[in-house]
Structure formats: C-alpha cells, structure tokens
Amino acid sequence: MADYLKGIDSEWFRHRLSLAVLVALVAFVVIMGRLFHLQIIEGETYRMLSETNSIRLQTVEPQRGLIFDRNGELLVDNRPSFDVTVIPRDARPVPVTLHRLARYAGISFGELFTRMEKNNGNPSFKPVLLHADADRNILAAIEARRFDLPGVFIDVKTRRQYLHRASAAHLLGYLGEVNAAELKKKKYPDLRAGDLIGKCGVEKAYDAVLRGKRGRRQVEVDASGQVMRVIRQVDAVPGKNVFLTIDHRLQQLAETLLMDAAGAAVALDPRNGHVLVLASSPSFNPNAFVSRISNEDWQALVSNPQRPMENKAIQAEYPPASTYKIITAIAGLEEGAIDENTTFFCPGHYRFGNRSYRCWKKGGHGHMNVETALAESCDVFFYQVGQRLGVDRLAKWAMRFGFGAPTGIDLEHEAEGLIPTAVWKKEKTGIPWQKGETLSIAIGQGFNLVTPLQQAVMIAAVANGGVRYKPMLIQSIRSADGKEAVHLEKKHVDHIPLHPRTIEIIQKSLWNVVNTRKGTAWQSRVEGLHISGKTGTAQVIGRKENKTEDKDKKRLAKYKDHAWFVAYAPARDPEIAVAVIVEHGEHGSSAAAPIAKALIQYYLIPEGNAATPAAGRTGGIERH
C-alpha cells in the first residue's frame, strides 16, 4: 500500500483505518473461536443430539372452565378422553406399524390408513390423530404392546360433558371445531385448526373466559418418540369457571312441566335481572355434539317440526295476546286516556267502523273499570282504551317496557319481536295504518310479536314498580383454583316513569287475576302465596297483511292457540317473575298458568313442595 498525498489527514486516516482492521480482526477471531468450540470441542455432543433429534416441542392443552348454577351445582364438566396418535417419523415403516396397530387394537386398517393418507404433505415429526376418544379395551391393547408399536402414543385430551343431558341445553350450548371463517377473525388469535370453540349458548358467549391458555413444553424423546423427560415447561392456564344465575332445580322443574309440549319458560329475579330459568322445549342433548354427531341424528333434530334446536325463550316470537293488556292499561292511565274510575260497558262485542269486534266472553262482562277489566281480561274495555290512545302511543309504552328490541342477553340469535307503529306499517306495506287495527293491537293480537324473555322482563318491571334490568346469565367468574372471583353487577337499563297510583292499580289488578273468583287465573291461586299475573291466549291464524320475512311467522301452525301466562310473587317485595308459553296450549289459564304456579311455588317454598323435578327426564331427542 503506497503512501499517497491526500491532504492534511492522510497519516491520520491510515492510523484509524489500521485500528478499524484490528477491530474487525478481533471480532472475526472471536467468532472463529466460538465456531471451533461448537463444532470441534462440543461437536460430538451436538452430533448426537442432532441425530436422535431428541428435543421436541409439545403443547399442553388448557383445561376448559366449568359451568355451575347459582347454587354451585355443576352443570358442565370435562372428562378425560384418549386419542391414539402416531408420529410417522418414529413409526417407520409406517404400514407395518399400522397393520400391527389394527390387529392389536381392533381398529380397521382402512380407517388408520385413510387418516395417514390425509396427512400427506405434513412434516413427518408432527403427530397424526388415528383414532379419537378410544375406549379402554383399545387403550389396554396398545399399552400392552407398546414395544411393538414405535411412534404410537396415547394423547390424553379432555372432552366436554354435559352432566344433565338435555337440561338447559340451549342455554349452555356446545362446542365444535373452529371453522375457517372463525380462524380469520382477530377475536381468536390463539386458536389453531382443530381446536374446539363454543358454537352457541354460554359456551360461545363466554368462550374467551372458559378457554384458558395453552401451555408448552420442551421434552426429550427416545428413538421411538416416547417422552423420556420434560426439560422445561410453561404451564397451561386453565380456563375460568363460570357461575350462572340459573337455579338448576327450578330449571329442571320447568323442563319437566313443559315436557310434552313445545314452549318456553323464563324466570327472572325482578330485583336484579338474574335469569333463574331459561327453558325451551323440546330440547336436545349437547353430549351428542362432543364426538361428531351422526348425520342421521342431525337430520332428525333439524327436521323435527317442533324445532328442538331453537331456543324458544329468546328466538321464537309470538303475539302477546291478553298479556299485552297490561301495557294498554298502563299506557291508558299514564297518557290520561282513562283514569281509575273510567268505565266502559261490555255487551260481548264492540262496533267500530263497519265491523263488530268480539269480546271472548260472548255474553259480555258488563260495566268494567280498568281494574276489573284487567282481572277478567275484557277485550271490549281495552278496544276502547286502545282506540283513545292510538297505535303510536301504545307502541311508545310497549317499547318502554323493552318490547320491539332485543334485551341484550348474552346469547346469540335473540329475536327482537315487533311493535308496530303507523310509520312502520307504511314503510313495510305501503298501506297506511287503519284505526281498526289499533283495536287488535290493544289486546295483543295483530302485528304484535314478543319473545318469552321480553315478557319476563316486562312483568319483572311491573313487579318492582318500573325498573327494567338487563337479563343476566352470569353471576360470577372464578379462577380455576377458586382464588380469584369477579362478581358481576346488575345492569340497570331503564326506570320507567310511572305514577305510584298507576303501579298500585295495575298490581292490584294482577293480584285479582289470580286471587279473585272472577279472575281468569283463579285456578292457579295458592294459599299463602300472593301470586299476581295475567293470562293470554294467542291466536295462530295467519294474516294477509303480515308481509314480513320472518321465518317464525310462517312456522306458526294453523292449529290451536298458544297459551301465555306472566306472573310474579310475592305481591309485596317480589322475588321471582315468570313468563310461560305453551304452544297450542289453548288457554293461558289451563295450560300455562299451572306451570308458572308450580315454578313459583317451588322457588318460594322449596321444602314440602308438590312437584319434584325428575332427574334427567326432559323432552326432545336424546342419545346417551
């Protein structure tokens, strides 16, 4: 390297460049040294490790959280299940191993081979599932012949177990394999193909809480792939346990009472919106979904005309019928259309326009005021109240009580029902509202549609004087070791502005429905228990004007009327509010009221009650 004249700093530059070369040299020497250490000094060790490829990463599945009822009764559990798995690389030659496995375990070779074929293209050290949920005979056979089955091992997994078969099936939900669309959503970043997630019900709504977090571990395996020791482990975090607001015994009672019919029962605590019962009949057994449900069973469920997969408590919409008179009465009093002394005469019919609207009692009720009209469910009285109010004011009060919108309960597919207004009808059908239609609305027929849950929310608000709570399914969430607990607060949605006198009148009337001879639910009174309620009989006849796309409407059969009963008890400081519907039960008083009565009775006087729940006997299609 000759010396050039570069300016004042040529010597200076050269000096610094020499230092730079020195630094580079040192760095490379260090690297060479390390290389030497790894490859020459420790070479043998590493060579051995690489040849046996003995270090593997495994995942540890977390335990899914359990589901309990409000009293700590276990509803959903996990049970161990055993999957026969193979690591192809350790099982060579693979066909020979599979043949042996088929012979020892009694599994068809074809099934095993098909599974292996499906796995082509995956790296050979990744485990392949051969036979899921193996029974003890298979397990015993494999364990005994382990030496002869290299690469084959038993993967212990947990599977979901719904302890009470079809009880609360819609509410609890079930698990299924995550599909491609769900994997894409950011909501589930930790998920992989083949994982199980909640598909409906609480299993879905609280999946993130129940799921827990996967753990991982580094293991050393021997030449045939069996784990020799665990080098390091990051524990899986078990999912949290969920305590529902549901009272399971009450729930089972409701399901037993509904057993032979299609219908629903909802019970709420009017003090905080806790859901005590959410029953829908007929039901299904979620255990059938734990291992893959067979096609026939699925078809049977889906084609059953009583629709067992539908949660009628929140998905089915029905006309509220006479139970709606509560709304009409409240609206009438609050809007000043009537007062407590207003009377109308019911001769059994009412002329309006060029039509005669009948009252259900052919001979008529005679002179009625709001109290007696509600107690005896006089149609004519309410036709006139409705006429004075008009459809929009009725709609306003209905919506105040939560009708026409979802309650927001933590479950999917909640229907919102329908509360018509003049604007709605014009937009929907192009025909303006006819005054005569208001009369039907006033008694809960016509376009009106409500869900049993909405009914329960309404009657709960009537019971506690006008406070509407959001229905709550979860009482608390606790960590698996029980150390941490989060208690969920009640959610106050609305305080409906009602005059104290209105509340008094309505509550008195509802008490009369059950406890006075002329009340429509006289048969369902209980000595000592102050039950208040209202019957309803919903017409099922299809209407020409209803041009909605609602599938539920089309499914309303042209048979007997549906039976409603909404109730709460005790009259003073109520603790439970109930809504029951029995499809095609005909009269609310004979079909629905006795169920509500039994539920209330059981809830308020648990000892010495008449109806005890029959364990596990519930309606619908079951398997196990």
Binding site: M1, Y4, L5, K6, G7, I8, D9, W12, F13, R14, R16, L17, A20, V21, A24, L25, A27, F28, V30, I31, M32, R34, L35, F36, L38, Q39, I40, E42, G43, E44, T45, Y46, R47, L49, S50, E51, N53, I55, L57, R89, N120, G121, N122, P123, S124, F125, R216, R217, Q218, I231, R232, V234
Partner: protein, 366 residues
C-alpha cells in the same frame, strides 16, 4: 464516457469476493430450501432473480461518479424518510410486522434503503466537519438527528434488528472520524441513560428477546428453543460437515427461519468447520477489502463513505453469525448475500457497487 483508467483500476478482487460469497450463499440456500416434504425450491429461484437484479443495481452504482452521492445526499435521505413514513400508512402486514411497501409487482423494504441513505448523508456531513482533535458535541447533533429519525421509524415497524444496525453503523462511522475525548465520555453517559428510554419503545417480544439472551432460561420454549436448535445444527457439523443437502436439522424443519436469520446454521451443519471457516474468511476479506478501498481513496467523502459501507457489511456479518451461535440476542439481521431476501441482496449489492465506484475512481481528482 468510459475512461480507460476506470477499467484499469477496477477492483476485481472485490468483485471476485462478491461473486464467491454470493455463489456459496446460493448453494447453501438451495439446500435450505429443500426442507419440508414439499421441495418446491421457490425461494431459491426467487433469490436467483434477486441476484440478477442486484447485479444490475451494482453495475448501475458504479457507472456514475460516486461524488454525485455527495450532492444528492439530502435528496436520497429525504426520499428514504418519506418511504419509511409510507410504511405504517400503506405498508402490508407480513407476520405481525409492517416493513414492506408494495410498488407494483415488487415489494421493497425501505429500511434496507435507509441504511445506505444514512451512511451517505453521514459521510457527507463528516467529510466536511472532520478534524484531527475529534468532533465536538455540537458537531454531533446533526448526525444524531439524521440517525435518530429513521431509527425511531424503523423501530416502530417493528424491526429491532435493522434499527439497531443503523445505530451501530452510525456509531462506528462516528468513532472512526474520531470524537473529542470529553464528548466521548458525555456520550457514554448519555447512552447509558438512554437505555431505559429505548427500552420503553421496544415491543414486548423484542424485550423478551433481549432478556432471553441475557438469561436464556426465561424462554426455553420460544427464542431459547431456536438457539438451542441452531447450536445443535452448527455443532453437529463437526469438522467436515454432514454433506451437501444432508443436513438433518434443516431437513426436518427443526430450524426455524432457516432461509433467513439462521442460514449460517445450515451452512455450518452441511459444510462443517472447514466450510464455515472458509465462509468466515471470505467475509473477513470482504470487510478488509472495503477498508482498503477507504485507504486508497484520496478525498474525505469517499473515505468515510467506504468506511461506512464496510461497517454495514461488518455489522451484519458479525451480528448474524454471533446470533446463530448464541453469542448475541436474536435480532432479525440478514447475512449479506446468503440470507434469503431481495431487499437485503439489493442493499448489499448496491453497497458493493458504490465501493467499486470509489475504488475505480481513486485516481480521478475533481
């Protein structure tokens, strides 16, 4: 246009080194691309294309007089910053990070370009300010700003590796042009104090990587696992290696990121101590060649520029190899001409082109 002298003074040695290293790198990449049952060799083919494009780029980089870079330094730097700002706005997500901009059929990583831009603008600045006693603190303020802006932008992509690389290269260049003693002391103190600030900006997994390096037991199942597998691969090569295409660690996909960060492990496993040493020697010669170009240059800009480019090559080589051997924390720094990656190949080839440029014009006085 072409002065005879340019061809006479062409630095064939440097070009030869580039070719050798590139060729060796492609060979190793070919092997690493067979891992997994699907031997599609897509990556290898793509890398060939990158080499082709890179060669064109390299040639383009010595066709003009490098002194133009001095004139255009600010423009190049500015364009780079703009591109870096575009990344979080228009960039595409790949594996949880946004480092790429799609420009038509090609995706570019502005961070790779940023390395060159920073080197060029610092060279320009230092060549004017350089003096025998060393730079004062005031002298250092502009370079710090020049460096900090892309550093922060890249850090937030998040790309810890390239961000740190820029810092290191800038640091090396600065130390090379000498800092005044008391300022140097001040910088050290400041550096120590700024560690918590930088720490704050790091993403969770980046912090994990540094902590894991300092204490490998912290994450035995994530990064720690990668390093273990890498060391097994390297160590198992022993003296002569397992033979070409016979690396069991890589054939079973035990080595993650084997085409990019951990490609040296594949090399060491298959070619053994002999092969790996040869590679390291070639790299060393490359760096020395680069410094030699600096030595031969007669004016300050070219000298500092050559030093900066050599520092870039040096840093990437040393950091990558040290990382796969467990001597440094895992950061995504590609091994020049060996790791798969179009942008990396492009930036290294461009750097080589500029070095050739400086070298072949060393006798031309402006």
């Amino acid at each position: 246009m072409f002065d005879r002298r340019l061809i006479e003074n062409f630095n064939w040695g440097l070009l030869g080194l580039i070719c050798f290293i590139g060729g060796f790198g492609l060979t190793v990449l070919y092997s690493s691309d067979t891992a997994g049952e699907a031997a599609a060799r897509i990556l290898f083919s793509k890398q060939l294309i990158w080499f082709g494009a890179g060669s064109v780029l390299m040639i383009a980089c010595f066709l003009f007089n490098y002194k133009h870079l001095d004139r255009w330094a600010h423009f190049i730097y500015g364009a780079c910053i703009v591109l870096l700002i575009c990344v979080p706005l228009f960039g595409k997500y790949v594996g949880g990070a946004r480092r790429w901009l799609a420009l038509g059929p090609v995706s570019v990583q502005p961070s790779e370009l940023a390395k060159l831009a920073v080197i060029i603008i610092l060279s320009r600045y230092y060549s004017r300010v350089i003096n025998a006693e060393g730079l004062t603190f005031r002298n250092l303020i502009p370079p710090m700003l020049y460096t900090l802006v892309p550093f922060v932008l890249i850090l937030r992509q998040p790309d810890l590796g390239t961000a740190m690389l820029i810092l290191i290269i800038a640091g090396m260049m600065t130390i090379f042009v000498k800092i005044e003693r008391r300022t140097l002391l001040g910088i050290f103190s400041f550096g120590a104090l700024s560690v918590p600030v930088v720490w704050y900006f790091l993403k969770g997994y980046q912090k994990q990587r540094i902590l894991t390096f300092l204490d490998p037991d912290r994450d035995p199942l994530g990064t720690g696992y990668h390093i273990i597998q890498s060391k097994i691969a390297i160590g198992s090569g022993m003296m002569f290696g397992k033979g070409y295409l016979k690396g069991t660690q890589n054939a079973l996909s035990f080595l993650p990121e084997q085409h990019t960060d951990f490609i040296f492990s594949v090399l060491a496993e298959e070619w053994g101590f002999i092969g790996a040493s040869v590679m390291i020697l070639l790299f060393f010669l490359l760096v020395v060649r680069g410094l030699h170009v600096a030595y031969g240059c007669r004016e300050p800009f070219g000298t500092v520029l050559a030093v900066g480019l050599s520092a870039m090559l040096f840093s990437q080589i040393v950091i990558n190899i040290a990382m796969v051997m467990g001597l440094m924390p895992v950061v995504g720094v590609p091994l020049p001409l060996v790791s798969y990656g179009g942008s990396s190949v492009a930036s290294v080839m461009a750097a080589a082109g500029i070095l050739l440029n400086i070298s072949m014009r060393r006798f031309m006085v402006e």
